[in-house]
């Protein structure tokens, strides 16, 4: 068992007491745009774009101030108000701004701002653009609530808020049945995860009467076996939100949403909330090796499953979605390795936020030029037609496969090394995943940007406007160089909230495993290049390869859900409905029938002759008189 030092948070002063503005600004703009309606159609998107930029500016100021403070006093709590106050049971609403949450704030507002700018161009021809921006702002506000919360309960408010925003944005084009169904699916699958988080909170409330991070961390040592239960429940929550096996099935369908949504919510920020939850609960996981191992196993399974799916899809967004699952699998794996991996999970989360947002927006730019086609079999040879998109996408590509000195090279290699250090099997599988990642990303590049032009007849690819390419360029620069800046610094920065062990992670310090990873990646790239360098058929080739079939069908995740969960639930519901109709309704209905029958019999005595009633009266009086007389005698 590893005992971690729990952080000591100091009350907020000065600038920090204004931290609530981080959340309030995008929330206010969101409501404003939704309430004003069409009045704000012409300028709403500009206002909505300013909101995350303002939050980013505040976040940056807070970050700089924390950078200046000494390590012990960096974590700050901001008490906002008392929510529930009933004697011994109190819930207050507060924000916790520490080294971990401020990084998330910068990622969410920074990448969020870029994606807002991009969306101005991407959604330019949509009638409901104002509504789209209002939802995006709502998402930013909810996500900031999630990461800034100082207790699980406030985190849960943000957690549900991002779920709502995700639902609204996936089904934004609800006139398409598939989009509407995908939104429902995401929402319903997430409910399963939410159940885990809610039950974890119930457990904490009943154990220690509080769900604030400070109290839970302080009491984690005495929880014993309960820590394992909470660990597993939190893992269930993380699986739902982060699309980890077994709750992975919603993420691929979530690609029905507009592409900026896929970039912001389903790649860079919301889906990483599960990783955040696990890292934030690291004190609990330190008490329970079983739950920690389960996190690592879930991460490993998902990173392979996502890579598998990514290798066999022809839809460019679904390849990226599979890749997102896979990369989040890496983060979960790192989070499940305990303190040696926690900082790397966040490191990879940040770099992934940059390069995956970059690639999703690049895919959006490609779709923009190709009349919203997503089938890579209709692409090809786009490198010349869309130079900026190609170059920025290539930067993301290099980062995700882990090309030396790009962002992914540092963050992913550290995770693989840490995995090897703690468990040889997890390490080998993570290494294999890196090779498959290189393969499917090379496949995507070859099918989209190189080779023959397989465009549909009426498609004329063109570069996107500057409002879309500038965010791409910024994200490409971050994809290439963020690793260099973060590599040496992030472990020390996160030392207190994640309780790490410092590794030697010099920029040029490449371990044998690092060399091995590079070799595996090179093999993956080569196979990808070799298989897809020639002509690619316009139709999906018939194959008897079971692996390809499984990948194309999302590893039968939907079929599994259909047979294992949906059908039994329907059968059960049908059975209960039958029971309700027969047994449950039968009892009162039977009683009513008996009463009605008796009533019918008694009704016969009412014959309308006053003599009969008189006789009844006389007999009654005689009866009463007899009773009284017998009573006197007795």
């Amino acid at each position: 068992m590893i005992l971690l030092e729990t952080f000591q948070a100091v009350p907020a002063t000065g600038l920090f007491s204004l931290a609530w503005l981080l959340i309030a600004i995008p929330l206010a703009t969101s409501f404003l745009l939704l309430l004003l309606g069409r009045v704000s159609d012409s300028w709403g998107h500009w206002l909505a774009t300013l909101a995350p930029i303002a939050s980013f500016a505040i976040g940056l100021l807070l970050f700089l101030q924390m950078l200046g403070a000494d390590e012990g006093s960096r974590a700050v709590t901001v008490h906002l108000y008392d929510w529930i106050s009933t004697g011994s049971w109190n819930v207050s609403v507060g924000l916790l701004i520490d080294q971990l949450s401020i990084l998330f704030v910068l990622l969410i507002t920074g990448v969020g701002s870029l994606i807002h700018v991009y969306s101005i161009g991407y959604m330019a021809h949509d009638d409901r653009r104002r509504r789209f921006f209002a939802y995006l702002n709502l998402f930013i506000a909810a996500m900031l609530t999630l990461v800034l919360a100082d207790s699980y309960l406030i985190l849960f408010v943000g957690w549900e808020g991002v779920g709502l925003a995700s639902y609204l944005l996936i089904s934004f084009w609800a006139h398409r049945d598939s989009a509407s169904a995908a939104g429902n699916k995401a929402f319903i699958v997430n409910r399963v995860g939410d159940l885990g988080l809610a039950m974890a909170m119930f457990t904490m409330f009943s154990l220690i009467g509080s769900v604030s991070f400070v109290d839970v961390n302080a009491a984690a040592g005495e929880m014993g076996g309960w820590a394992t239960l909470i660990g597993f429940l939190l893992l269930l929550a993380a699986c739902g939100k982060s699309a980890q096996v077994p709750l992975q099935s919603w993420l691929l369908d979530a690609m029905e949403g507009p592409t900026p949504v896929s970039a912001l919510i389903h790649a860079a920020t919301m889906v990483t909330a599960g990783v955040y939850l696990v890292i934030r609960s690291n004190v609990i996981y330190a008490q329970t090796p079983e739950a920690t191992l389960a996190v690592a196993i879930v991460g490993t399974v998902t990173l392979l499953a996502g890579a598998w799916i990514g290798s066999s899809k022809d839809d460019i967004k679904k390849v990226l979605a599979g890749s997102t699952m896979s990369q989040i699998g890496y983060m979960m794996l790192a989070a499940g390795l305990g303190p040696i991996g926690a900082a790397f999970a966040i490191f990879h989360l940040l770099t992934h936020g940059f390069f995956k947002a970059n690639m999703f927006l690049g895919a959006g730019s490609v779709m923009h030029g190709m009349n919203d086609d997503v089938n890579m079999r209709n692409f090809g040879g786009l490198a010349k037609a869309m130079k900026i998109t190609f170059l920025t996408f290539a930067a993301g590509y290099l980062a995700i496969i882990g090309f030396p000195f790009t962002a992914g090279f540092y963050s992913k290699d550290h995770i693989i090394e840490a995995a090897f250090e703690s468990n040889i099997i997890l390490g080998t599988l993570a290494l294999l995943g890196a090779g498959v990642t290189a393969f499917y990303m090379t496949r995507l590049m070859m099918m989209t940007f190189f080779g023959q032009k397989r465009w549909e007849p009426d498609v004329h690819p063109h570069e996107s406007p500057a409002v879309m390419t500038v965010p791409l360029i910024i994200l490409a620069i971050l994809s290439l160089f963020a690793g260099l800046f973060l590599n040496g610094w992030i472990q020390d920065w996160l030392a207190v909230p994640t309780g790490h062990e410092v590794h030697n992670t010099g920029l040029l310090h490449i371990t044998p495993i690092g060399w091995l990873t590079m070799a595996v990646v090179a093999v993956g790239v080569f196979i990808g290049w070799y298989m897809f360098k020639d002509d690619i058929p316009k139709t999906v080739p018939q194959t008897k390869n079971v692996f390809a079939h499984a990948g194309r069908n999302d590893l039968y995740g939907d079929a599994f859900n259909e047979h294992a969960i949906i059908r039994p639930t329907k059968e059960l519901a049908a059975g209960l409905a039958w029971f309700d109709r027969t047994a449950a309704d039968g009892v009162p209905e039977g009683g009513a029938t008996v009463a009605a029958g008796l009533g019918g019999l008694l009704r016969r005595t009412q014959n309308g002759y006053s003599r009969t009633y008189g006789l009844t009266l006389v007999l009654g009086v005689i009866g009463v008189a007899l009773v009284v007389a017998l009573g006197q005698l007795g």
Binding site: Q606, N607, Y609, S610, R611, G614, L615
Partner: protein
């Protein structure tokens, strides 16, 4: 005249009233029978008052008379109204209040 013989007379009158009410179909006769029962009870009341030597029984008899007078007014009015509407004073013809 003893209280016992007065009570026997009262019971006889009451029985005649009951039999009349149950057996006769003319509404006026049935009504008359009810009056007979009321006055049979009045006789019992005053017989007991005489035996006990106080006024409570006589008071009760007066009450019954007042009530009976009021009842006659209402009852006869109903009988006349029914007769006008249905051309019949038979209690068996007024049998609409049944199942």
């Amino acid at each position: 005249m003893t209280t016992a013989s007065l009570l026997v007379l009262s019971a006889f009158l009451f029985t005649v009233g009951v039999a009349g009410f149950l057996l006769r179909r003319n509404a006026l006769i049935a009504f008359l029978s009810i009056e007979l029962m009321l006055n049979a009870t009045n006789l019992a009341f005053v017989a007991f008052a005489r035996q006990h030597g106080n006024l409570e029984g006589q008071m009760a008899a007066f009450f019954v008379m007042v009530v009976a007078a009021a009842e006659v007014v209402v009852g006869l009015a109903i009988i006349v109204a029914v007769y006008r509407a249905r051309r019949s004073a038979s209690v068996d013809d007024a049998n609409l209040m049944k199942f």
